[in-house]
């Protein structure tokens, strides 16, 4: 449904995308995961026909993003990272505006947006600029959906949003996916990768890996140990000071430790930490998460 082949884009000398390729299948919920500066927005803007790539080709539903931009605009819905509805129109006026632009009406596609729109309908006469963050987000999503797009593209819809609203938002995306819409979504929150069918891990204009979240985690090449004591800060410093430790980073209440030698057992690390007089020690081998993988790939690419 989305095909990206060898796309590059630079802003003056800054390379925002470096030879990126990926494909998103019909009906898939695909995530672009990475920090600011990874190139997520640039890629989305190219796919949305709002920006022209320097090199490479991209297709949306079989249409070329440069040549067929008019066709693409009719069949995609886009929710940009910055709230871009008309602040001086009401909730209902915004929705009507977008419906009219696409030659449809709210009534015609109400089924599709119903679940989302009912939550803001009590405020339909309020100006969009006067809505809270969560409600703006729901209105923007409703407007992006009102012409019943085949492909929905969402640029960091959950950034700066609290954990509860984030969960609600992902539930909404799942429902839309079940109605057959192909979804491309970006997020800087690594824990949201697990909610996608497949993800591309991105960093500084490059794709570090593309796969299902489960397989990305399964293919983690290194041994990973978790350690915890009463004094987290001292623990991490002691871990980093030991020559047998390659990296040590805080993960929740544990430190995740990558030993230099993958053969190191938890018990050896525990002995070392005991010699440093750490209290209430817990040390065990653990399974990596997406963030561990991402951090591992980051250091690989740096070298």
């Amino acid at each position: 449904m989305i095909k990206v082949k060898n796309i590059s884009k630079a802003y003056n000398k800054a390379e925002a995308l470096k030879n990126i390729s990926l494909e998103v299948k019909k009906g898939e919920l695909f995530g672009l995961i990475g920090p600011d500066g990874a190139g997520k927005t640039t890629l989305m803007r190219i796919l949305m026909t709002l920006l022209i790539q320097d090199e490479g080709k991209a297709e949306m539903s079989g249409f070329d993003v440069v040549r067929d931009y008019k066709k693409i605009r009719r069949l995609v819905g886009y929710m940009p990272g910055r709230f871009s509805l008309y602040q001086d129109l009401t909730v209902e006026e915004n929705l009507e505006f977008f419906a009219t632009v696409f030659g449809t009406s709210i009534a015609e596609n109400y089924e599709l947006i119903k679940d989302i729109y009912v939550q803001i309908e009590p405020f339909k006469n309020r100006l969009a600029g006067k809505l809270s963050g969560g409600m703006k987000q729901k209105l923007a999503l409703s407007c992006a959906l009102i012409h019943k797009p085949e492909i929905l593209v969402l640029d960091e819809p959950t950034t700066g949003v609290d954990a509860v609203s984030r969960k609600e938002f992902w539930d909404m995306l799942k429902k839309l996916q079940n109605q057959g819409i192909t979804i491309l979504v970006s997020t800087p929150y690594m824990d949201e990768a697990g909610l996608c069918d497949r993800v591309a891990l991105m960093q500084k204009g490059e794709i570090l890996r593309i796969d299902s979240p489960a397989r990305i985690v399964e293919n983690y090449p290194r041994k990973l140990l978790a350690a915890r004591s009463e004094e987290m800060y001292r623990l991490i410093n002691d871990l980093r000071a030991w020559k047998k430790v390659e990296t040590a980073y805080a993960f929740g209440q544990f430190a995740h430790v990558t030993p230099v030698d993958d053969a190191m057992e938890a018990v050896e690390l525990e002995h070392y930490l005991m010699s440093k007089k750490h209290q209430k020690l817990q040390v065990f081998e653990t399974n990596p998460g997406i963030e561990d993988v991402f951090m591992g790939l980051m250091s690989e690419y740096r070298e």
């Binding site: 990475g34 920090p35 600011d36 500066g37 939550q119 405020f123 309020r126 006067k130 809505l131 809270s132 963050g133 969560g134 409600m135 950034t159 700066g160 949003v161 609290d162 954990a163 509860v164 609203s165 984030r166 969960k167 800087p188 929150y189 690594m190 824990d191 960093q203 987290m232 800060y233 001292r234 991490i236 980073y249 805080a250 993960f251 929740g252 209440q253 963030e291 991402f294 951090m295 980051m298 250091s299």
Partner: protein, 263 residues
Amino acid sequence: MNQQIPVITVKDMVKKFGSFTANNHLNFEVYKGEIFGFLGANGAGKTTAMRILCGLSAPTSGEITVGGFDVYTQTEQVKRNIGYMSQKFSLYEDMTIAENIRFYAGIYGISVKQRKEKEQLLLKKLNLESERDKLIASLPLGWKQKLAFSIAIFHDPQIVFLDEPTGGVDPITRRQFWDFIYEAAAEGKTIFVTTHYMDEAEYCDRVSIMVEGRIAALDTPDKLKKQFQSEDMNGVFLKLARRVGSSESGVESKKRINKNRKS
């Protein structure tokens, strides 16, 4: 962390905007050297409480001291004794690193001699000596955040308020930032931090979770997880803060009332 010395005391803090209660009888203490996580859904009342603790807004009622100073009558002393950093506002993008340091040092009345000494130490620690005269706008986000934190504690405050400090950076940079936080806490500074990253909530010594203007829970992450039978803080947060619409409309009424007051 020394549990014996409270540096922030909040007793029965209430803040009303007209008929809307943004902070509804908050009670808590924060201790010296503690990393205190202040969580809540958007619109739960965190920003209101934080503004009061920073001496920027007077509470409606309650007894509140910050660094030993009263937030009604000693707001200037409160401001001198705290540092503040947020993702949204930190440094001046169109000034250089050195200019930003000079500016903040000037605001806090730090002598030129002292500033020069501290500036050298700071730039050395951050490995930014050769970048001294570069504009903030030209720095990567991760550097900006570390620099903003270092400048927020440049005047050696007892307490630092961090309002969602780490958005948008890669996971390694985010952890390097937390190394800075741990280090400052180990030196005896108190860290008061809000975040939407639930794993960061686990790095805190204690965490409070606000729901609709009240503190719904306050304890160590371990105890909260036990109390709410959750594997992680995300689970705790979802159980506590599950709400539909109510706090959203709360934000609205607050804004509406602010507007009415102006007119």
